[in-house]
Amino acid sequence: MIIRYFAWVREKAGREEETLSPPETVKTVADLIAYLATIDDNHAAAFEEANAIRVAIDQEHVEHDALIAGAREVAFFPPMTGG
């Protein structure tokens, strides 16, 4: 699974993307966030304000309760400020 980070989530995580295989107990986006936050201090900082973080699975917006089964790419980013 490819994990991508944007804006301040990217800066805090200290990376643009990484590829990893979360354990089978990780079912939802919220589970994935909790799992990623345990990787190291950078990841912990990136996900400190978990509620503020928006998520896309395979480039579509999803909520934190979405299931990640079958996801190829999961992206984490702050609320968007386009336009």
């Binding site: 804006a7 301040w8 480039q59 980013f77």
Partner: protein, 155 residues
Amino acid sequence: MAIEPTVRVQADNFDLTAETGKLTADRFDIGAVVTFTGLCRDEGGQLSALELEHYPGMAEAEITRIARQAAQRWSLTGLTVIHRHGKIAPGENIVLVIAASAHRQAAFDAANYLMDFLKTRAPFWKKEHLKAGGDKGWVDAKDHDEEALTRWDQS
């Protein structure tokens, strides 16, 4: 049948007359063209540039999704969205929406809808770079942008 929108995410600037001309050329069924141009503001005179980070692939896909919703909801003859990324100087263009229709209210509403949804759904993030060096960090999303969406709810 709803028209297919034209969506571009690019570093380069755009030209209003040229982009509008692409929608109107050789057509006689268009009564109204509404364009919205979003520009980089800097009232305090502190900014050297606004940097727009985006999610390549998803940016195009999400804008296309929003534009198709507008094309379903209003009767349009054409719809173009161009969103720039990268560093943009104060006073420069950031985003362009063009909605063409037989009738004026459809064109106004579609362009207005597009901008409301782009603000909060298109995966772009703005960072303010300062003339004095360094940056002011990432621009916060505004609550009122999220609230603006509720007026488009359909009963």
